[in-house]
């Protein structure tokens, strides 16, 4: 069909898999007393190569490989780069924060890298079975990572909760796939897009859409499928939360974009109101619940639910503007969220003796760097101009307004005003002086090492770049949006319009 060897279509995934295998083998062959920290560097280097490989894929002609199951296009490259970037930061962050004597560090890094294989594959998959497999690869790695702190009560609880609910959600997705196979006789996304509008059993198609949406919305922790989020985030180690609150979500959003825009463009009138409602619910539920949280990680968990809502608002945009806005928002959200979890990891320590908002009081006095960074990322989450958070919201809501959903934008922005209250509570606590009677001698000053310093630098730079010179990223997001071929809604009569070129 095309002259590109199939292996090039999955080059980043291949590199990541090899890296993971290398980490596991080295881990097994090292004597038990030797520190595994340096394996993190192996992972980081492998991820960097995977990132370059993704960028290199831009030079390939857009198309699919392996009998039409994997696609490479600017869209997949955008998300590949994003996911590799997040994984890189998460690896660097873990290296300085995992306890030195941990025997399982090797597994930890390998799991992160294997998980990222699944996430990357998910963004490129155009065959529903591959979608399912890659979703499982990424999920299983995340389930294990969530329960990494086995010695605490919360760790296994988080893992089991995440696993049980996650399996249910994947089950829904699988049912959806089965139903759409029943209706159209295929599991290839472009074929489905072509056949779905004329499928005899329209009820099956609708049910498939609904079930698949449930499965995916669970993964992005949008209300009302969000209940697992706070508990899992609280129980999982912070570096893992930095990863799992961003990278799997980015992959899931890529899948959502593919499903609604590429597979079911004909059902635009059906999924749009659904996503509209989910968006409003997510923002409102997330923000209202976050207002009352005292635990920083739970608060940020609810905040991530709210951000999923802002992101879903972009889906109200017309055609490619919505896709571009959603892609951009994913990147902006990832940059600032990874950053804030990195700061939280450092400030509250690996074993989290000090997880409450109150414990962050006076952080800027204890550690000016961490305090300022915390405030910076919170300011970005609030959505103040000249930070990534602002342009994310800006594009998302301008897509919504452009698509005629002015009320969605109003609700969203009022919500972001509400959200400012709890973000600021944390920021102002960090800026506040400690009361004179509380000695702060007991609290050690967090140290910022090289690896974690690089992680923070990456996150800060990404947040600033997205906020001040977003042109390039936006262009990339738009290029991706065009390859996703979001057709205008009106032309759904001629299904042929949506078949991808190869």
């Amino acid at each position: 069909m095309n002259s590109v060897p199939d292996i090039f279509r999955i080059l980043p995934e291949v590199i990541l898999t090899l890296t993971g295998v290398a980490i596991m083998l080295t881990d097994a062959s090292l004597p038990s007393g030797v520190a595994r920290r340096s394996l993190g560097w192996v992972g980081a280097i492998g991820t960097t190569f995977a990132l370059w490989a993704s960028l290199w894929q831009l030079s390939l002609p857009v198309g699919t490989g392996f009998y039409g199951t994997v696609e490479t296009s600017p869209f997949t490259v955008f998300f590949h780069v994003l996911i590799c970037g997040i994984v890189l930061v998460a690896l660097l962050l873990s290296m300085d924060t995992l306890p030195e004597n941990s025997h399982h560090q090797g597994e930890f890094y390998a799991l992160i890298v294997f998980g990222s294989v699944g996430m990357c594959l998910l963004t490129g998959a155009v065959e529903l079975l591959l979608v399912f497999i890659s979703l499982e690869i990424s999920s299983i790695a995340t389930y294990v990572l969530a329960g990494y702190r086995k010695d605490t009560a919360r760790g296994p609880e988080a893992a089991i909760k995440y696993f049980l609910l996650g399996s249910f959600a994947t089950g829904f997705l699988l049912y959806g796939i089965a139903l759409i196979f029943g209706a159209t006789g295929t599991t290839q996304v472009y074929e489905i897009a072509r056949l779905a509008p004329t499928a005899e059993n329209h009820g099956f198609v609708l049910a498939a859409l609904a079930l698949m949406l449930v499965g995916i919305l669970f993964k992005v922790s949008a209300a009302p499928f969000h209940v697992w989020t706070p508990d899992v985030y609280e129980g999982a180690p912070s570096p893992v939360v930095a990863l799992m609150s961003t990278a799997p979500k980015a992959a899931a959003f890529a899948l959502l974009l593919r499903v609604v825009y590429e597979m079911f463009p004909s059902l635009h009138a059906t999924w749009l109101p659904l996503l509209w409602v989910v968006a409003v619910l997510s923002m409102t539920v997330g923000n209202l619940a976050a207002l009352r949280q005292q635990n920083v990680k739970r608060m940020l968990a609810y905040s991530s639910i709210a951000h999923a809502g802002y992101l879903l608002a972009a889906f109200a945009g017309l055609g490619s503007s919505g896709i571009a806005a959603a892609s951009f928002y994913t990147a902006a959200y990832a940059a600032m969220n990874v950053g804030i979890f990195a700061v939280v990891t450092l400030a509250s320590g690996y074993d989290e003796q000090r997880p409450l908002v109150e414990d962050f009081r006076g952080l800027i006095y204890r550690s000016p760097l961490l305090g300022s960074l915390l405030i910076f990322f919170l300011v970005s989450l609030v959505g103040i101009p000249f930070t990534g958070g602002f342009f994310g919201k800006f594009y998302s809501f301008s897509a919504a307004v452009g698509g005629g959903a002015v009320w969605l934008a109003v609700i969203g922005l009022l919500n972001s005003g509400l959200a400012a209250a709890y973000y600021l509570r944390l920021a102002l606590a960090a800026a506040q002086r400690k009361a004179a009677d509380e000695g702060d001698a007991a609290i050690p000053t967090p140290q910022v090492g090289i690896a974690v310093g690089a992680a923070l630098l990456l996150a800060v730079a990404a947040t600033l770049v997205l906020g001040i010179v977003p042109n390039d990223v936006l262009r990339a997001a738009e290029a991706g949006a065009h390859t996703l071929q979001a057709p205008p809604v009106q032309t759904t009569a001629s299904g042929n319009a949506f078949v991808q070129q190869p």
């Binding site: 405030i375 602002f390 809501f397 307004v401 452009g402 005003g417 209250a421 102002l428 936006l474």
Partner: protein, 514 residues
């Protein structure tokens, strides 16, 4: 010279930012951050003085304009420029920065780096608001100005900083949400965020009237909270009692009032006329309500807050009187209020530093102990209450006379009553603090009168008040070119040159309902 003219506004924006970075990088040794900040502020002030020196009077449109694309899609431009309206406001902002730094010189003892870096960042944001001609750029600076303010109030609040900071932030941040939606809606309709383009498009009236009405209301709401206009002043007194002196000088008034003139009346003249009677009513209530509450305050920060409410309401009255002279008076009064408030805050801050209380009745008989402080305080007070020969008189006179002839006699009488009450509470404040018997508190501590640095700041301010009172035409000349309409023909011939406020084409309310 042309090159300087082209880059001067960018320099004014960048120098404080560079100073902020420098403060953040430099070691926190002795008073190094203070000196860097002061130097930066003085250089910036010097740069702002370039504007009036090379401003061409009588020329319509914006000057020192720069218009470069910043973000491609949506099309956001780095479009800055000043006209008569914003010219002196930029200079005022430049003037207040060194004063604020001098006021914080000895007060801020901890984390100086954070304070001065954020203070300078705030400065950039404020200049940005005054010079931005692209609505998204404007919105960016508008929001940006909130952050350093909130953090500084939280960090350096006197008693309960974080609470006041949160209140301030939410009060001003939440109304900016509808503002952003309104901007996005305008963009979705027109494909432009450019002020001048939008002004032309809106005046050609291709929008549905009801939608435009909501958009204008969203603009107005955001600005009215920031001014503040009664009944949206809930944040003001807490912020004034908590904010460091340097920030209290700039937190209220200027930004909101300027935005009203430029972006509410400037973009939506028709809608502004529709809401003008309501705002005039609210302004008069604000004048009287603020004055009455100021009379009964026991805390001088709160007194200053309600005094500010009263004075800013007077300016709001002038703006929504929709008369040309009223607008001149309004801009002039913003300048005057800025100068006078700066002096008063500086002096009150010094008193607070020495006696660490803001309870008025704890003071008494300070005039004998601190003669220079007392003298300057009295001069500033007289400037505030509008004694002839000082700046306040000119501003208030123009505002009241334009309201009297152009809007409504009864409202003017009510507003004038507020001015009289203003004299009462301010003079009573002076009497309670500086005269009468010495209070136990002031008797117990040795008083430090102004040191040379403070005197070097305050004496020029006092002279400035006098000059503003004696030779107002120096400032009014430029303000008039900003406020007055261009010859109608020219504006039709080349729409690109349409002046700031095409709203002049509306007949003033004089003919309207009395």
């Amino acid at each position: 010279m042309n090159e300087i003219n082209n880059s001067i506004l960018t320099l004014i924006l960048l120098v404080p930012l560079a100073g902020a970075l420098l403060v953040a990088i430099a070691p926190d040794r002795a008073k190094l951050p203070n000196w860097i900040a002061l130097l930066t502020a003085l250089v910036t002030f010097g740069l702002t003085l370039h504007l009036p020196a090379h401003f061409v009077l009588g020329q319509g449109g914006f000057q020192f304009e720069v218009n470069r694309p910043w973000i491609e899609s949506p099309a956001i431009h780095y479009h800055v420029g000043v006209d008569g309206l914003s010219l002196w406001l930029v200079v005022l902002a430049g003037l207040l920065a060194p004063i604020g730094i001098v006021a914080s010189w000895n007060t801020i003892k901890e984390r100086r780096k954070v304070f001065y870096a954020l203070f300078l960042l705030q400065q950039t944001a404020m200049f940005g608001v005054f010079v931005s001609l692209d609505l998204m750029l404007y919105y960016g600076f508008w929001e940006l100005s909130l952050v350093p303010m909130a953090i500084l109030i939280a960090m350096y609040g006197r008693k309960d900083g974080p609470r006041a900071a949160l209140k301030f932030f939410l009060f001003t941040f939440i109304p900016s949400a509808p503002l952003l939606v309104a901007l996005l809606w305008l963009y979705a309709q027109t494909g432009s965020f450019d002020f001048v383009t939008l002004q032309i498009l809106i005046s050609h009236g291709s929008f549905s009237a009801s939608a435009l009405c909501w958009v204008a209301l969203a603009f107005l709401l955001a600005f009215a909270v920031k001014v503040p206009v009664f009944p949206l002043h809930g944040w003001l007194s807490d912020t004034f009692s908590e904010a460091p002196v340097a920030l209290a000088m700039v937190v209220a008034g200027k930004l909101g009032l300027y935005s009203m003139l430029r972006f509410h009346i400037g973009l939506f003249p028709v809608q502004a006329r529709a809401v003008a009677p309501t705002l005039i009513g609210l302004a008069v209530i604000g004048i009287l309500y603020g004055a009455c509450l100021a009379l009964v305050q026991r805390d001088f920060w709160r007194l200053m807050a309600f005094a500010a409410l009263s004075h800013l309401s007077l300016i709001t009255l002038a703006i929504y009187g929709l008369t040309l002279t009223g607008w001149e008076g309004a801009v002039y009064q913003i300048l005057n209020h800025g100068v006078v408030d700066a002096a008063l805050f500086l002096l009150l801050g010094l008193l607070y530093d020495q006696y660490s209380t803001s309870q008025i009745n704890a003071y008494g008989g300070l005039a004998a102990k601190l003669p220079n402080t007392a003298t300057l305080f009295v001069i500033a007070t007289l400037g505030m209450i509008g004694l002839p020969m000082l700046g306040g008189f000119v501003g208030e006179f123009i505002i009241l006379s334009s309201t009297f002839t152009g809007v409504s006699r009864s409202w003017t009488i009510a507003a004038a009553l507020g001015v009289i009450l203003g004299a009462a509470y301010m003079l009573w404040l002076v009497q309670r603090i500086f005269y009468g018997p010495e209070s136990p508190l002031t008797a117990s501590r040795p008083g430090n009168d102004l040191h040379p640095g403070q005197l070097a700041v305050l004496a020029p301010l006092a002279v400035l008040m006098l000059v503003m009172g004696l030779a107002p035409s120096f400032w009014l000349a430029a303000i008039q070119t900003g406020v007055h309409p261009p010859p109608l023909k020219q504006s039709q011939a080349s729409p690109a040159n349409v002046l700031v406020l095409p709203s002049m084409s509306i007949p003033s309310l004089g003919e309207g309902p009395r």
